[in-house]
Every structure is written in structure tokens, then in C-alpha cells.
């Protein structure tokens, strides 16, 4: 029998050779790329043993990881390492951007406990994190601030080992069991008591500690009245305190706290901030929040993140110093003529009215501005309420993120 002048065995031979070549190509592709759902060996079996070309098609449709999701650089996480040895040796000397201006207390930038290099996380084509270079010295309280959706939770999740970066590396100089992680809305099995939930955390992270440690920590976070109550009846604030107790019970070296006071009333927030403040002398705390006053109260070092990018990293004092050329003017409305006049001044960089009568003024020459603002106001018979340098964290934050 012949097909197109060729004998059937010859045609089959050519088709078989083609199939083998395609299979080899698919296997080579499998070798080069990361895969989803199954390990590589399982996909290789499916490609080879699957009814050709169905196995290969299944791999391309289901198994091959899209380019955007592909981890291109090796990720170095202490938690992924075999064993539980401290990874201090793995921490390289880092080119830190931490300035030499003295913060609230001295920061030893040579002893870095958490560092990321070019850390990126993509969800499809959207970048949740974009080349983040986080540097957290040992013993500091690091306030990670940013608007909603800025990437704070994603960054903390990667540091906690709950998510994998798409690119970049994470270096943590302590074993995973020495990290306490508090998610923003902690939840527990509702049929456990508070003591049982925290004791489970103690057993998993520091079984050598006595069980009395559980009660001590529960008292410390203000849950002494609910120690034997089942978690199912807890309010959100109590769950947050319980989550904090679960973090602290193992006496971790590093604490990752995602919005630790967001669900608490003002008194509860005060207590948690006091607690974080007390920890600051003995632990490294990375605290994510959108409540700027919390950060201003407890943080030594601040990282401002927006749209996945770390816009600023350094001592809080330096961030506040950046606003020394910014003023807040409050006059009785209308403020339009004053605004027009200010914008014509040579030393004005920016003058905006963010609320009726409230002017945000950025200047290039603070001395000139301070000398002449009064004259400008007087010329327009302005009813002045206040004129202040806007050296608060909120101003600095808005400048960086707006």
C-alpha cells in the first residue's frame, strides 16, 4: 500500500520521528520552565505515556506556568532550608540606604535580620511588589506604611513564607520557628479555648518553654478573663489579641505584625502599641499599618510602600525631616486670592487647597517663605487661623504617595 507515492511503513516512520521530535521539544520545554498543579516528573510521565499528543497538550494548557508567574531568580528563604539552623551566615553585606542621621535609638545597620533583594510579586501582569529592597536591622521596630492595596500584606506574606516571590530573594537571619506572624484578621478553630490555641502555638514553635508561658502571654495581651473561653465567641479585637498571644508565646526573635491594632478600640490600640513598644528593645518588629500615628509612636525605621514600590526607607526622623519645606496654612475661606498670590511667589513649589481654607504649601526656600507669607496674607486681609510647618508623618506620607 502506498500513500502519495510513499509506502505506509515509510510514512509511519516519518510520522513517528516527527512525534518523537515534538515530544523531545515538549520535554525540553518542561525542563526549562516552572510548572503548576503537578511536579515535573509527573508532567514528564503524562507527556511520555499520555496518548500523544494529548499529554503534551495537557502540559501546555494546564501545567506550564505563564511567563508572568515564573520565578526567574532563585529564592533564598531560611524557612525553605532543610533543618532549622539560623541563616545568619546567609545574610550578605547589604548596600543599605539607611542614612547616618541618628534615629530614636542607634540602629546597627551591619546586623541585618531581614532583607529582600529586587523582590517582585506579579499577579498575572499586575505587580503587587516591584523590586522591593527591604532592609531591617536587628532589634528595630520597622513601620511599613502604605495605602490600601500598596503591597504591605503581600510583602509580609512573602516574608512569612505564605507566598512565593515571582522574582528576587528574601534573606532572613533566623529560623522560621523564631518568627512570629500575625495576619490582619486572625482566625482560630471556634471550638478551641484561648489557652488551647496559644498552647498549640507554643508547642509548635517553642515546646521547651513551660506551659505556664501560655497564661503569662494571655495575661500580657489582656485576655486573662477569657483564657478558658472558646474562641468562637470572641470579638474581632479579642481575636487580634489572641493572634498576638500566639505570636509572642514562642518568644520569637522577629515579629511580623500585619495591622495589629486595626480591629481594636482606642484603649485596646493603646495597649497593643505599648506592648509593641516594650518589645522593641528585645525583638525585631516589622509592623504594617495604615494608621500613621501608630507608626509615629513605636517605629524606629519606616518603609513607605505604594503601588508595590518602596518609596522610602530609613529612620522616622529622616522621613519627617523631608517635610521641613512644607507648611500648612489655615485661613477663613475663601482662600483663592491667597492661593493665586502664593503660586506667583518665586519660592513656591506647590500651593494647593486640600480643604476650604486649608492650604498645603511646599517651598524651595523656607527662610524666604517664612519671611514673606505674613505679607501675602496681610495684603489679602486674610483671617489667619494658623500657620505651621507640616512636619507630621501624614504630610510626609502624602508627599511620597500622592
Amino acid at each position: 500500500m502506498e500513500i502519495g507515492g510513499q509506502s505506509v511503513p515509510a510514512v509511519l516512520l516519518v510520522l513517528g520521528a516527527l512525534a518523537l521530535m515534538v515530544m523531545a521539544f515538549v520535554l525540553a520545554d518542561l525542563y526549562r520552565h516552572d510548572v503548576k498543579h503537578l511536579p515535573k516528573w509527573a508532567w514528564a510521565l503524562i507527556i511520555v505515556l499520555g496518548n500523544f499528543p494529548l499529554g503534551a497538550i495537557a502540559y501546555f494548557v494546564l501545567g506550564r506556568r505563564a511567563a508572568g508567574d515564573e520565578p526567574t531568580d532563585p529564592v533564598d528563604r531560611s524557612g525553605d532550608r532543610a533543618g532549622d539552623e539560623p541563616a545568619t551566615a546567609a545574610v550578605r553585606a547589604l548596600d543599605t540606604d539607611l542614612p547616618s542621621r541618628p534615629p530614636r535609638r542607634p540602629i546597627d545597620t551591619s546586623d541585618i535580620v531581614v532583607a529582600t533583594r529586587a523582590l517582585s510579586k506579579l499577579y498575572g501582569s499586575a505587580a503587587a511588589l516591584d523590586a522591593v529592597e527591604l532592609v531591617v536591622p536587628r532589634g528595630v521596630t520597622y513601620g511599613l506604611i502604605g495605602p490600601n492595596g500598596a503591597g504591605k500584606t503581600t510583602l509580609l506574606s512573602i516574608l512569612a513564607g505564605l507566598r512565593r516571590p515571582t522574582r528576587g530573594t528574601v534573606e532572613i537571619a533566623v529560623p522560621r520557628t523564631s518568627m512570629g506572624v500575625l495576619v490582619d484578621t486572625p482566625q482560630f478553630e471556634p471550638w478551641l479555648t484561648a489557652r488551647e490555641a496559644v498552647d498549640l502555638a507554643r508547642h509548635l514553635t517553642a515546646p521547651e518553654l513551660p506551659s505556664s508561658r501560655v497564661d503569662d502571654v494571655l495575661v500580657e495581651v489582656g485576655l486573662e478573663q477569657a483564657i478558658d473561653r472558646r474562641v468562637g465567641g470572641f470579638s474581632r479585637g479579642m481575636l487580634q489579641r489572641l493572634g498576638l498571644a500566639g505570636c509572642l508565646v514562642g518568644d520569637p526573635e522577629v515579629l511580623l505584625l500585619d495591622e495589629p491594632s486595626s480591629a481594636l478600640d482606642p484603649a485596646g490600640r493603646r495597649e497593643v502599641l505599648d506592648l509593641v513598644g516594650r518589645l522593641a528593645h528585645t525583638k525585631t518588629v516589622i509592623l504594617s499599618t495604615h494608621i500613621l500615628s501608630d507608626v509615629q509612636q513605636v517605629a524606629d525605621v519606616v518603609g513607605v510602600i505604594d503601588h508595590g514600590r518602596l518609596q522610602f526607607q530609613g529612620p522616622l526622623t529622616e522621613l519627617l525631616a523631608r517635610t521641613s519645606a512644607t507648611y500648612s496654612i489655615h485661613v477663613r475661606p475663601p482662600a483663592d486670592p491667597i492661593l493665586e498670590h502664593l503660586r506667583r511667589c518665586a519660592w513656591t513649589v506647590e500651593a494647593t487647597e486640600h480643604a476650604p481654607g486649608r492650604i498645603h504649601l511646599v517651598v524651595s526656600d523656607p527662610a524666604a517663605a517664612e519671611a514673606q507669607v505674613a505679607a501675602v496674607l496681610a495684603e489679602h486681609d486674610a483671617r489667619l487661623v494658623s500657620f505651621n510647618p507640616a512636619t507630621d508623618l501624614e504630610t510626609a506620607f502624602l508627599e511620597l504617595t500622592s
Binding site: A160, E189, L192, D199, L204
Partner: protein
């Protein structure tokens, strides 16, 4: 403070094993397992014993040939009932504890406290297998005792071997749940996925050459053993079940470790 400390010293340490035990006890899931298997055991023994009387009472107009009830009838009934409702209960209970990531906040609490996430799967898998096997053994014991009293004696060793075969199948079924949970994550999807896999096996078993190799063959092991089958008939199925269970657990671990919250 001293009183609080004294109380805590008396309490058993919370481990992942105790967590699973408390899950079974405090959520009353153990009652689902033991209730289903025990109820089916009683029902099976009674219907086998009084089948003729039931048919005479309710089967008006239906002609049937009454035969003397045999002890094996009760076991066949029990196996038939538990292979559907019993396995459904096992899958539902196992899915509730093996879908660790179904609630990400709870999962985060556990995942961030172990060196390898896979450690979190050991206790739920083992406890579920132990509980389901204990429930099935209890059901088998009840049906055997009732059969002994109502119909006649059963061969003890054959019942025992049959129970072990059934337990092996249940270990496989729980491993299927663990593997499916690795792909789906949610409880409902895991239940339906695992049931789909377990129901597909008997359908595949319609292809006679491979029937004896399938794990589903072990389901009827108890009835077959009591009916006079030899243990050798199940060796192939046992071998495949052991390999499949190991493979499924490996898949479950791999999937669980790779998942992001």
C-alpha cells in the same frame, strides 16, 4: 496568677494530634462516623433477619420465594450500605479537616509555626484513618453480634480479615480526599472531587481484566471473605491500594507545600 498557672499545668499539651482529636470530639464529627456505621450495622442485621417478614407485610401483590436467612446476607447488606453512605460520611468528615487552607487566616496561623507545611497533614490524615477504621470496626462488630444472635454464627477470622481489607480501602479513600484537597482547597469541592474519584473506580472496574487490581475491590472484601473467598484474591488489589495511597499522599504533600495563601 498562681491559680491560673496551676490550672495550665494540669492540662494536656496541645499538639496537632490533640487538635485533630478535639476536632472529632467537639464538632461531633465522630458521631457522624460511628452513628452511620452503627446504624447501618443494626439495619443490615435486622433487614437480613426479617426480610421475609417485611416482604410479607409490605410486599402485597409481589410474588417472591422465601429462603431461610443466612449470616452472610447481613454482611452483604452491611457492605452494600456502607460502601455508599459510609464512604460518603468518611469523605465529608475527612474533607473537613484535610482542607487546611479552606480558611486562609486559620491556615496562616498553623503554616507559620512549622518548619514544613507538610507536617500539618500527618495528624489529620492519621486521625481520620484511625477514626473511620474504628467506626467501621464498630459497625462490623455490631452487625456480627446481631447476626450471631438473630441468624447464626459468622466465621470470626474471615470477618477480621474482611474488616482489615475494608480498613485499607478507607485509608485509600482518605488519601484520595487529601490529594483532591491539595488541588481544590475548598471543602465542598474536595468532597465532590473525592466522591467523583471514588465512584469512578467501580465504573473502571467494569472492565474485567483490571477489576481485581482496583482498590474498590476491597470494599466488598468483607462480604466476599465471609462468603468463602480466599485472601489471595485480594493481594493484587491490596498492593495497588498501598501504592496508590502512598502516591496520593505524596501528591497531597507536594500540592500543599506549593500552595500560596
Amino acid at each position: 496568677m498562681t491559680a491560673v498557672t496551676d490550672r495550665s499545668a494540669r492540662r494536656p499539651t496541645m499538639t496537632l494530634w490533640r487538635l485533630e482529636l478535639l476536632r472529632l470530639v467537639r464538632t461531633h464529627r465522630w458521631m457522624i462516623l460511628f452513628g452511620v456505621y452503627t446504624a447501618l450495622a443494626v439495619l443490615s442485621a435486622l433487614t437480613a433477619r426479617y426480610f421475609n417478614e417485611i416482604m410479607e407485610r409490605f410486599g402485597e401483590g409481589v410474588e417472591f420465594t422465601a429462603t431461610e436467612p443466612q449470616p452472610v446476607d447481613a454482611i452483604v447488606q452491611f457492605v452494600s450500605n456502607t460502601s455508599q453512605i459510609g464512604v460518603l460520611a468518611v469523605v465529608v468528615v475527612a474533607a473537613s479537616s484535610l482542607t487546611i487552607d479552606a480558611k486562609p487566616e486559620q491556615a496562616a496561623f498553623l503554616r507559620t509555626k512549622v518548619t514544613r507545611p507538610a507536617h500539618l497533614l500527618v495528624a489529620p490524615y492519621t486521625m481520620n484513618v484511625a477514626a473511620t477504621c474504628a467506626a467501621m470496626a464498630t459497625g462490623t462488630l455490631v452487625v456480627s453480634l446481631l447476626t450471631e444472635v438473630l441468624i447464626g454464627p459468622l466465621p470470626f477470622w474471615r470477618v477480621l480479615v474482611g474488616t482489615v481489607l475494608g480498613a485499607c480501602y478507607l485509608a485509600f479513600a482518605v488519601a484520595v480526599v487529601a490529594a483532591v484537597a491539595g488541588f481544590t482547597g475548598g471543602q465542598a469541592t474536595t468532597v465532590f472531587g473525592a466522591l467523583g474519584v471514588l465512584l469512578a473506580l467501580p465504573i473502571i472496574g467494569l472492565f474485567e481484566p483490571i477489576q481485581a487490581w482496583l482498590p474498590s475491590e476491597l470494599v466488598s472484601g468483607l462480604a466476599a471473605m465471609v462468603d468463602g473467598a480466599s485472601f489471595g484474591e485480594f493481594v493484587r488489589s491490596l498492593l495497588v491500594t498501598a501504592l496508590a495511597t502512598t502516591g496520593l499522599l505524596a501528591v497531597a504533600v507536594a500540592r500543599f507545600e506549593r500552595r500560596e495563601l
